[in-house]
Amino acid sequence: MKKRQKRLLLVAGGLTSVALVTGLVLNAFRDNLVFFYTPSDIVADIVPMERTFRIGGLVEDGSVYRGEDGITVHFRVTDTAVAVPVVYHGILPNLFREGQGVVAVGSLQDGGVFKASQVMARHDETYMPPEAAEAIKRAQREAARTVEQSGGY
């Protein structure tokens, strides 16, 4: 075997084993690498209850209301299957709104309320001008009205 063929084999073998090891390690740490848990994870009891952890999902429509001090916010985080009530005392990021992705840091209190110490907005991968967003919203309203009218029962 020529020297350069030996080197080629060494490199190929080395890279394959590194890839294999990385794959196995990542697979083993799979659950620890998630940045946040979903509300369904909480219901399924795979969340470290006593510890501080992150919960992620969408802010449920119509669930946001502010406390009397004007800075405490109550809302529910949903993954469209399960919703978890969250209470937060502090300033929310600009992008925070109903229907928007959100990640909250905190822990579960007795009674199943998640007490957040920090709230981050999560952006989705859609980018469009405001006029386009407005047009889509209008189209959706139109569609909803048509369904209502034709439904008629």
């Binding site: 350069r4 940045f35 946040f36």
Partner: protein, 250 residues
């Protein structure tokens, strides 16, 4: 390989590379300036604001091209390093070494602009989610490669040792790319994929692609220039360098 005598290998000869790169660099530099000017004008003036993020989304025009470039340059660097290590082609070793600083710069810009975008959008500069962390590891791999190369005095041993580091680090690139799919991350998923239509308005997409091209042209021009200097340093005693010096061709 060389038994077949393909013309390709002409350019692996340092003297030929030196001449060709010298002719190409001004073109790539001119393209860089033109594309950056057009891309920045479109991105900052023509493109509309985003419906949710307003104007802060415009940082995407720097963030995405530099992030892609950082990842791609790493793969390229590792491929050159492997070729240099296995087939002992001097030019490949030089190219691998020349790519590293540009790749590190691109990765740094991606991290930095990402932090500046994260503060108004997410509410934090930095979080330890899979995407951000793996990108930071990429920066450390670049810095480690350069440090290792510089730490060993013997040129051949420096090349070999850092080539191994470059190749091992390649596993990180698919991790960066797929991190947003494999794990829950704060970072959003990809807007532009090979399989689906981009989830962004056409003018934004076109502008982004112009900026991506600009990043490419910049990287090519700078890497070629750096490789040229390296060739000159390594071959300073060679006859072809003396000839060019006498002719005034530099």
């Amino acid at each position: 390989m060389s038994e077949r005598g393909i013309q390709w290998f002409r350019f692996t000869a340092p003297a030929n590379f030196y001449d060709l790169a010298g002719r190409l660099i001004p073109w790539f530099a001119a393209l860089t300036i033109a594309l950056f000017a057009a891309g920045l004008y479109l991105g900052l003036v023509v493109a509309p604001p985003d419906y949710q993020q307003g104007d802060s989304y415009r940082i995407i025009y720097i963030h995405v091209p530099t992030a892609w470039m950082g990842m791609f340059l790493y793969v390229l660097m590792a491929v050159y390093a492997a070729i240099g290590l296995i087939w002992r082609i001097k030019m490949a070793e030089i190219m691998a070494k020349a790519i590293a600083p540009t790749g590190a710069l691109m990765t740094f810009f991606a991290l930095w602009t990402g932090a500046l975008w994260g503060r108004p959008t997410w509410g934090v500069y930095w979080v330890w989610d899979a995407r951000l962390t793996s990108m930071l590891i990429l920066l450390f791999l670049y810095l480690g490669y350069m440090a290792l190369h510089a730490a060993i005095d013997d040129r051949q041993r420096a090349s070999n040792a850092s080539a191994v580091l470059a190749m091992v680090g390649v596993v990180n690139v698919p991790i960066i790319y797929f991190s947003v799919q494999w794990w829950n991350t704060l970072h959003q998923g990809a807007s532009i994929t090979v399989t689906d239509a981009p989830t962004m308005a056409t003018i934004m997409f076109v502008t982004l692609m112009i900026m991506v091209l600009a990043a490419w042209m910049y990287s090519i021009a700078v890497v070629l220039a750096r490789a040229r200097v390296e060739v000159l340093e390594r071959e300073r005693n060679a006859r072809w360098v003396q000839e060019r010096l006498e002719d005034g061709r530099t």
